[in-house]
Subunit: 137 residues, 2 copies
Amino acid sequence: MTDTRTIVRDLYDAYGRGDGQRVAQFIDDDIDWAIYAPVDVFPFAGVRRGRAAVIETLAGIAAAYALESYRPEIIVVDGDRAAVMSDVHFVQKATGRSLRFRLANFLRFRDGRLIEFREFANTFDVVEQALGRELAL
Amino acid sequence: MTDTRTIVRDLYDAYGRGDGQRVAQFIDDDIDWAIYAPVDVFPFAGVRRGRAAVIETLAGIAAAYALESYRPEIIVVDGDRAAVMSDVHFVQKATGRSLRFRLANFLRFRDGRLIEFREFANTFDVVEQALGRELAL
């Protein structure tokens, strides 16, 4: 069986080069998935259960945002779990706005497939970048 | 030398029970620290360099927020690095407001001391909890 570190690298390489087919191969049927971000701004945020829902979510991200670069900066691997901190750059297709921020992911694998995923970002900042203005406090 | 997993558990146990003296013992003189959150709402957010600045930051957090509970849910350890996802509950001292959210930390240790720290949260949500109202989009 392939070790977790190799799987993580393959998964992030595939995502980084926009290979959705390859990414989809890593998604387990029973995946437990959450992106912690406001759904009013990012409709693909929130909790998802199962492969079909996650693939739909990934398609939703790709429909609204073009990936310019996805660079893992820290990769921590421990048994079937991993955590990855990345520096990312997306372009909002509707406006051409560049969004640059860091993502923190926690992942868990079973038999080479992703069964648990949690994503964090400094969403206050990312929302401001997506809206193209500062939020009123 | 103590292994990273033991150090991580000791550090989070100390923080969780409010033992600031013990937490301070883990902070390296040359620590590179960042909390990714808006400084207008959380003055203790942002980048810090060095032990004195970090201890002042921890004191700033404790001055404004009482820790009710800090529960690590996922701990990933890899050599000198770790990542921790926690479920936390703070009370804003000025208002009595309860803030409940998840934190994602990336840590790196040298000789048993923390030399690198990165903290993420769904800050859009945490800001709304801190202000006690929804942000206008």
